[in-house]
């Protein structure tokens, strides 16, 4: 039964299955929609179509019509219109669907084409899977198994190419493994806008290389490693560290800036080995910055704070200090929404003023924004602050000098970096919650070690006011407590009403007290995030400029 197609939809038949797809979709994507995999190397949904690997060959056909009369020619046997199959195979990636198009992805010809292409690709492939880092997530392995012939007829000498070229500080190239798909070249041209890669020589001597005098140094270079379908481009950092099949993947959010790139953290037995981007077409497509990929190293860094006493004792000590003097609370734009909410509650209970420290850096217009706090908007939404934070805590500094503040609770913020002097810190009683040691923790009376973002769960609100959740990827450092638990216990210790520190309880409170979170529960936040209503803060002048999938409110208004 043929349904009338919607204006922007095109009806095609893939392996006899009828599907309506948006106009302009290519055959690979259309086939993906019916659940059929069309193997490919060079095609990448976020890049332009090159069509040079020939792996996605399929058979195409159009309904037959009389050339003169335009009358459909019917097949008397089936009673349906005859299909006019194109005698040669076509590439799926470069073919855009047209109404009534018929596609065969499983025909004998297609199968033979794939076998042939695989055989050609493998002719000069070094087959060093045992030492190749791509093994386990290699398209060549997968498709050789799925679509290859299974044996080799090649008895001649294989081509020799450079094995260990440093394309840049973070990327190593093994040219023998390259299948010349040009994804990396297109990425650099189209996404990173840093055109440094290209092919030289011809035929089987074709080699990927940097342009003379140039290096692949841009901050998105590791994305070429991600999109390389084979093991040609490998991350120098991850090189020979661990086989990917041992690694556990957990969804997380990049904390580098307020972009909030979606990531996957790869860990084994409590050790993180690498971070890769996770596709979110609303935020970061399939990319992320190189600088965000090394953040995991803080987990194992030498200046992690280690517990010296049990949590109960520390919390009691901190609680008594906080109840004694005039308190100021310095929250953090790096804390999760839940932690900021609990910090705000604690500040309210203590009658303290609360601050957060802004961090600004260079923005690159792509996936790094000016605001380097991943969760400034969370502090606004949860009511920890009511106005945009400053990079320097001058109010607090003045209060200390005036003696209005005698006790400061810092949630992971180094106050010296926020403009307070050592003398000022010496004047006040400091309680420090945090994961790493710094000048503030050194001056603090009570230190409560907490977890890094990789060891705990929670959510951030990015520059788009998109609520995104992250999961704990590895177990926490022994003895260090989750920030939520610490804050909740502190709250209870200073006489506040604790509603529990686990995510569902905190979110029950959040959805009840914060209008933006009404009817929201942590478990219901979609993997791609939940866009919040930002109209309450539209008056604020956020520092971020335009970046991928984000336009500042002001720019949007003028546009």
């Amino acid at each position: 039964m043929i349904q009338p197609a919607k204006p922007d939809l095109v009806t095609v038949f893939i392996d006899g299955k009828e599907i309506a797809v948006p106009k302009g979709t290519n055959v690979i994507e259309a086939a993906r929609m019916v659940g059929t995999d069309v193997p490919h190397y060079c095609y990448h949904p976020k890049l332009t179509v090159a069509g040079n690997c020939r792996m996605c060959l399929i058979e195409l056909g159009m309904p037959m019509a009389d050339r003169a009369t335009r009358e459909p020619i019917m097949d008397p046997e089936t009673g349906k219109q005859k299909i006019n199959w194109i005698p040669r195979p076509q590439i799926g990636c470069g073919t855009t669907v047209v109404p009534g198009m018929h596609v065969k992805t499983q025909s004998p010809m297609v199968k033979e084409c794939r076998e042939g292409v695989m055989e050609f690709l493998l002719i000069n492939h070094p087959l060093d899977c045992p030492i190749c880092d791509q093994a386990g997530e290699c398209k060549l392995q997968e498709q050789a198994t799925g679509y290859g012939r299974g044996y080799s007829r090649f008895i001649e000498q294989k081509n020799v190419k450079p094995k260990r070229t440093q394309l840049g500080p973070r990327v190593t190239l093994d040219d023998e493994r390259c299948v010349l798909c040009s994804r990396c070249i297109r990425f650099c041209q189209e996404v990173a806008k840093d055109d440094v890669l290209g092919f030289v020589d011809r035929g089987s001597y074709s080699t990927l290389t940097c342009y003379p005098g140039k290096e692949l140094t841009n901050n998105y270079s590791l994305n070429t490693v991600d999109i390389c379908p084979v093991g040609a481009l490998t991350s120098t950092d991850f090189r020979f560290k661990m086989r990917v099949w041992f690694l556990k993947q957990s969804n997380s959010i990049c904390t580098e800036s307020s972009v909030g790139a979606n990531t996957v953290v790869w860990s084994r037995e409590g050790v993180i080995y690498r971070i890769t981007p996770r596709q979110n077409d609303e935020v970061n497509d399939t990319w992320m910055a190189d600088s965000g990929r090394i953040l995991y190293k803080e987990v194992q860094s030498g200046n992690r704070l280690k517990p010296t006493s049990d949590l109960k004792t520390s919390v009691a000590a901190a609680g008594s200090l906080l109840q004694d003097g005039a308190v100021a609370v310095v929250g953090s734009g790096r804390s999760s929404v839940e932690e900021q909410f609990l910090t705000a509650k604690l500040a309210k209970q203590l009658g303290a003023t609360s601050y957060i420290v802004a961090r600004h850096g260079e923005e690159d217009g792509l996936l790094i924004s000016k605001d380097r706090n991943p969760n400034t908007r969370g502090a606004l939404v949860t009511g920890l602050i009511s106005d945009l934070p400053a990079t320097e805590l001058s109010d607090l500094s003045a209060d200390i000098d005036a003696g209005k503040v005698t006790t400061i609770l810092s949630v992971g913020e180094d106050l010296t970096a926020a403009g307070l002097s050592a003398e000022q810190l010496a004047k006040v009683t400091l309680v420090y919650l945090g994961s790493h040691a710094n000048a503030t923790s050194a001056a603090a009376k009570v230190i409560i070690p907490t977890l890094t973002v990789f060891e705990k769960s929670g959510s951030f609100i990015n520059q788009q006011f998109r609520l995104q959740k992250f999961a704990s990827t590895i177990p926490g450092l022994a003895g260090a407590a989750d920030d939520r638990v610490v804050l909740d216990q502190l709250l209870a210790d200073v006489g506040g009403a604790s509603a529990g520190s686990d995510l569902p309880s905190v979110w029950a409170e959040l959805s009840a007290q914060i209008p933006a979170f009404a009817n929201t529960a942590y478990a219901n936040i979609p993997a791609t995030g939940l866009l919040l209503d930002s109209s309450n803060w539209s008056g604020l002048d956020f520092p971020e400029g335009e970046s991928l999938h984000f336009k500042p409110a002001a720019a949007e208004a003028t546009a």
């Binding site: 045992p130 294989k158 020799v160 094995k163």
Partner: protein, 180 residues
């Protein structure tokens, strides 16, 4: 189901007295007694180990003295009791076998866990891990029962294979470099 009753021959008188059978039995056991022993006096005399015996897993070197393992970690993956633990590492670029690129930095087999299934040997793409003829392993502590890389190579020795896969690879590389 059909069955057939087999008539048993009735016992003769001599058989019924049981005495000839006893005498026969005594003869048999006496013959056994004067025969040489069937058993081995173990620690001094060792049994012949058949070809393909699955003893303690070991790592081997190739005839050039290069360690064959490239730390692909397939054995670690396939090991049913998770007895194998590998820390991959890069070969020093100045070394002779730098073209192999990868070798284990640490390779531990916990012999308290090993079940001698031989899957590691079967899965190894480089023929670097072999279950050889050591069958008696003992130690005083748990730590002693974990064979580290040095111990594994000591047990394994050299595999006299003639593949020279990596030598050929290096030769091809040199040929290629010369051609350019």
């Amino acid at each position: 189901m059909s069955f057939k009753t087999v008539e048993r021959k009735p016992l003769t008188f001599a058989e019924r007295t049981y005495v000839p059978q006893i005498v026969n039995g005594l003869m048999t056991t006496f013959k056994k007694m004067v025969k040489p022993n069937e058993t081995l006096e173990y620690p001094e005399a060792r049994p012949p180990i058949p070809e393909g015996y699955r003893g303690v897993p070991t790592l081997v070197k190739d005839p050039n003295g290069r360690e064959k393992c490239v730390s692909c970690q397939l054995c670690e993956f396939v090991c049913p009791p998770k007895a194998i633990r590998i820390k991959p590492g890069e070969i020093d670029p100045t070394s002779d076998s730098a073209h192999v690129e990868k070798a284990p930095e640490a390779f531990d087999i916990d012999m308290l866990r090993c079940i001698y299934c031989g899957l590691c040997q079967e899965v190894c793409p480089e023929e670097a891990i072999w279950l050889q003829n050591v069958f008696s392993l003992s130690g005083y502590t748990r730590e002693e029962m974990v064979n580290d890389k040095d111990k594994l190579y000591e047990l394994g020795g050299t595999l006299p294979d003639k593949h020279f896969k990596w030598d050929q690879k290096k030769a091809a590389e040199d040929r290629g470099n010369a051609a350019h």
